[in-house]
Amino acid sequence: MIPSLAILPPLLAVTMLWYAAPLIVVVSLVCAATRHEFMQPILSHAARFAVWIVVFMGLFMGMISLLDWWA
């Protein structure tokens, strides 16, 4: 199995990660609302920003996992 996929089940089991979800929602909504004035563009921007944060976190976690695997 690919190393990055092998760590996925343990990661999902780590409930600590779920504490990031409300923070991602709040951060993306507030940041988006400081760049727009109406709800429609705010929500659209927030959704894109939230996806960007999740992808960034995933990439970072993947990078750390790879380093751990190589070490």
């Binding site: 923070l23 507030v30 609302a33």
Partner: protein
């Protein structure tokens, strides 16, 4: 009247037309936004954003307080006059200010507000009031398996008792405070517009006349 102008691509409601936002008394709005997240926007008549900011930032702050048993916001420790985390939490405004009052009482050798008289070393978690700095005395704690241990000070006991939520709650309250600084800027100067390369002239402008 101070105004901020948003280029058309920032607002889908008025395609092709820049949006002019009236920023009533920016300094007062910024102060209100700091005191209570969203209040500055409500004062300026920007109700939707005001409510959004209030719910998001107060929600994050109080959820953090809940996770940390109400002890994650305090201004000082026995080693630090002002802990660096509190500088971030202070951004949330009025909800973080009681920690300064509790700190000043403790530094004046007075019991913090809400502190009942108890025998030293026999404190329970409920007996320490919110926002009060931790004491430097050794304290006793009992875990879920009824194992009793002594902790070197009250902060250690809070961390053990609420492990791992104490740190998570601290992060929640810090992020709430930092986010409110963005809200204060938005109340003062309007939404942040980043000039795109495709629309070099489609920038925002502010008129404080």
């Amino acid at each position: 009247m101070a105004t901020a102008v948003l280029p058309s691509e920032y607002n889908t409601l008025d395609e092709g037309e820049p949006l002019e936002i009236e920023l009533k008394q920016p300094w007062l709005a910024a102060l209100l936004a700091w005191l209570v997240p969203g209040l500055g926007h409500l004062y300026q008549g920007r109700t939707g954003k005001g409510l959004l900011f209030f719910v998001c930032i107060m929600g994050a702050f109080w959820y953090g307080m809940y996770l940390g048993g109400g002890h994650v916001v305090y201004a000082s420790t026995p080693e630090q006059d002002l802990r660096w985390q509190y500088y971030c939490q202070l951004g949330a405004g009025g909800v973080a200010l009681p920690a300064l009052v509790q700190r000043s009482r403790v530094m004046d050798d007075k019991p913090p507000f809400g502190q009942p008289a108890v025998e030293p070393g026999k404190l329970t978690d409920d007996e320490r009031p919110w926002y009060a700095p931790p004491r430097n005395d050794q304290v006793q704690t009992t875990d879920d398996s009824d194992n009793i241990s002594r902790q070197p000070n009250e902060l250690s006991r809070w961390i053990v008792d609420h492990n791992p939520h104490f740190e998570i709650g601290t992060v929640y309250t810090m992020i709430a405070g930092l986010l409110n600084l963005l809200v204060v800027c938005d109340a003062y100067a309007g939404p942040l517009v980043i000039r795109s390369k495709d629309h070099p002239e489609g920038d925002s402008s502010q008129d404080n006349s």
